[in-house]
Amino acid sequence: MLEITPAHYMVLSSALFMIGVIGVMVRRNIIIIFMSIELMLNAVNLNLAAFSQQWQHVTGQVFAIFVIAVAAAEAAVGLGIILAFYRNKETVNIDEMNVMRW
């Protein structure tokens, strides 16, 4: 059976990361964009966990748990901000967000 090496995890995580990036680039709905960013952070977590296993210590896993915790905090704050925006503009379409430019 093929052994799973860190390189495999890297490929998976970079694919996940790219999917997240593309999501940020192309989606219109702010919530979905935010979810895409979460994908990017999860790619990071995957990396950290895989490397942690490779080096045989927990530093990476601890790091990953911090990332998850912080992502949760960000999500809470972010959703609040998006809600405030929605109250004012009645939309979560990112194209409508252009009061300030140039």
Binding site: M10, F17, A43, N47, Q54, V62, G78, N88, K89
Partner: protein, 492 residues
């Protein structure tokens, strides 16, 4: 390494602990006081910051690793913590009248400012990727909320969403880079990282990681092309927060940058020096050119702040103890100049005048000569005219660049300073040479007057008599590992 924490670990983070306790105290006081007693909160916050500063003072010449090697309590951290606390202090001073005019709740506002300051302090003393990351996010989350603090205001909403989304996006990039660094080295401690990775030719993956980390930090310091959020966010955020963001957040990010690159990756100087060289040149040039035609002061100051990030990057490129010293001096001077300029803008905010358009400054000199003269001084200082503080700072930065062999960088910097004079002087033109506009009278509250005084005194004193600051910065820069060995390599 000791298995657990000792009492000493708590001693070393005493200033941070005081700040946390103080932040909680602010929340409690907020609940206990009535709406009429709101100004009290501001003074409580000032007290907290002063107490923190006081507890910080014993650490001026300490140099230890605390909390199992997660934090470096050294001169470098001391200097930056001083910068953050001063920034927060002036910001709080200029906030009270603004909060009143906008009708905002003060408790959470001050609490969040203290939280952001706390995050910055951990960024400065963090010597482990995890600590730095936690500090960064503590600061960033507080700023996301503060940016959108004007809830009914569309611009503020929009600024918050933009800042939040792009901030999280850049965080993803930064963390991905950090995770690769961890994967290659097996450690998150910067000093260990430096020893583990220092051998051999840098791998492609390592270079990709460095690029990702540079990009993530580039976002925080608003370096072109990672700056796009800055003008919008600066324009939309409440003005005192804009000031705090443009000074405090930038200074903290530079502290983080220096820690990561000079403590953690000094052996890769050949990789990141050219990168920062390009960033510095593009950033200052773009910032200055874009600032030329702005009509909104906050937006103009945003571009100007981008340009200043470019100047400050020169200190990083120099990659010498002189460069770091110059960078630190410049940041300290920048605190006074930039906050002073913003304090004047905040003061212009009245019931019937938004006060952030250039034309709102028209004829200021005829009605409020003191404010106009202060603004003149800050503008000249930002422009780098001798004998102001800004001239001193630029002088040291450019001379550090020349010393390290980056003569062209210094030349580009000088040309940029010359360009920037145009828009700084334009502000002066409006204040002096335009008919005054009408509006309700400007009232400077005692706190606001104090904020202006602090900024002005700092900018004047350090411009005319910079000796003590120079010595402090020089000794602080020495404690940053790697710098002493890092001799400037001229590759451009």
């Amino acid at each position: 390494m000791p298995p657990g924490f000792s009492a000493a670990d708590f001693y070393y983070i005493l200033p941070e602990l005081v700040l946390v306790a103080g932040a909680l105290l602010v929340l409690v006081v907020d609940v206990l006081t009535s709406r009429q007693q709101r100004p009290l909160l501001g003074w409580v916050t000032i007290g907290v910051l002063l107490a923190t500063m006081l507890t910080l003072l014993p650490f001026s010449d300490v140099d230890v690793l605390a909390s199992r090697g997660l934090l470096a309590i050294d001169g470098f951290a001391f200097f930056f913590k001083l910068v953050f606390l001063l920034t927060a202090l002036v910001t709080v001073l200029m906030s009270s009248s603004y909060l009143e005019v906008e009708g905002l709740r003060a408790g959470e506002y001050y609490f969040l400012i203290l939280c952001a300051t706390l995050g910055m302090m951990f960024m400065a003393s963090g010597i482990d990727l995890v600590t730095i990351f936690i500090g960064l996010e503590t600061m960033a989350v507080a700023f996301y909320i503060l940016t959108g603090y004007l809830k009914p205001n569309r611009q503020s909403n929009e600024a918050a969403v933009k800042y939040f989304l792009l901030g999280a996006f850049s965080l993803g990039i930064l963390l991905y880079g950090m995770s690769i660094l961890y994967g290659l080295s097996g450690t998150t401690n910067l000093r260990e990282l430096a020893t583990v990775l220092a051998t051999g030719e840098p791998s492609t993956l390592l270079i990709v990681a460095v690029v990702l980390v540079v990009s993530g930090i580039g976002f925080k310091i608003a370096a072109v092309p990672f700056h796009m959020w800055a003008p919008d966010v600066y324009e939309g955020a409440p003005t005192p927060i804009t000031a705090f963001l443009s000074v405090g957040s930038k200074a903290a990010s530079f502290a983080m940058l220096l820690r990561i690159f000079m403590e953690g990756l000094p052996f890769l100087a050949e990789v990141w020096q050219p990168m920062f060289w390009v960033l510095a040149v593009v950033t200052m040039t773009f910032g200055n050119l874009a600032a030329l035609t702005q009509s909104n002061i906050k937006r103009m100051l945003a571009y100007s702040s981008i340009a200043h990030a470019g100047y400050i990057l020169i200190g990083v490129v120099a990659n010498s103890s002189r460069g770091v010293t110059a960078l630190m001096i410049y940041l300290m001077l920048y605190v006074f100049m930039q906050l002073g300029a913003f304090a004047v803008v905040v003061m212009l905010r009245r019931r019937d005048v938004v006060g952030d358009e250039l034309k709102d400054l028209s004829g200021l000199y005829f009605r409020y000569p003191v404010a106009a003269c202060a603004m003149l001084f800050f503008m000249l200082s930002l422009g780098g005219i001798p004998p102001t503080a800004g001239f001193m700072g630029k002088f040291w930065l450019f001379s550090a660049a020349i010393e390290s062999g980056y003569i062209w960088l210094a030349v580009i910097g000088v040309i940029n300073s010359a360009i920037s004079l145009y828009y700084y002087v334009r502000v002066v033109v409006f204040m002096w040479l335009r008919e005054e506009t009408l509006g309700s009278p400007i009232v400077a509250s005692p706190a606001m007057a104090l904020a202006l005084t602090v900024a002005l005194v700092g900018a004047v004193i350090f411009g005319v008599y910079p000796g003590p600051l120079f010595e402090l910065a020089e000794s602080s820069a020495q404690s940053l590992g790697g710098v002493i060995t890092g001799v400037g390599v001229s590759s451009f």
